[in-house]
Amino acid sequence: MKQIIEWFFQRITGAVLLFGLILHFYTMHYSGADQISYEMVSARLSNPYWIIFNIIFLVSVIYHGFNGLLGIMLEYVHSHRIQKICEGTLILVGIFLTGVGIYILTV
């Protein structure tokens, strides 16, 4: 059951990332020059819609990336104990990065 849920979330976050990245790239690279200046970035970060988008985007990318890494690790590591250590480490790093990301979002 756990694996089915992980598979499902990997697809859901994948879809979120595909649509999110289209919006991300469009905003950054196709909406006129200087979208990455401090003023423009901090203006976006003070908009609640962008904050919600960024948090969903952040959580999705970290889940998708680290769950993907875990999947790769489990293919090469067969000891159940080391698999658990891998999982725990990736969860901790993921939570840490999410914290860093949310800290950055609160400019």
Partner: protein, 114 residues
């Protein structure tokens, strides 16, 4: 033992390596963004990143993202039971979409906007 290269195994290699690279890129991306706390440092880093070499690597990043996205979409289609005879055509469809995105993306990256 030799590894046999065909569309499926090439897609597997690309997906695996782009996935690892993109996950590592999260660290780099968040590190650069953490400089938003200091506006002057952020502007100076953005200026430093405005170089041809960085633009070229951004194009590489776009390749990784596009390849991983559309191969991931293809994998989801395979998971939900797409017939085997469509697996190869779907690979080439994903490759064509990826190439089109790279072509479209290289304009603002290399051309000028940003």
């Amino acid at each position: 033992m030799r590894y046999r290269l065909h569309t499926g195994s090439v897609a597997w290699i690309i997906h695996r390596f782009s996935g690892i690279a993109l996950t590592l890129y999260i660290f780099l991306h968040l590190y650069v963004l953490s400089n938003l706390k200091d506006p002057q440092k952020f502007e100076s880093i953005m200026k430093a990143l405005d170089s041809p070499l960085i633009k070229l690597s951004e194009l590489g990043l776009l390749f990784l993202v596009a390849a991983h996205s559309f191969n991931g979409f293809r994998l989801t289609l395979l998971d939900i039971g797409t017939p085997t005879r469509l697996h190869k055509p779907l690979f080439w469809l994903a490759a064509v979409i990826c190439a089109l995105i790279l072509a479209a993306g290289s304009w603002p990256f290399v051309g000028g906007l940003h």
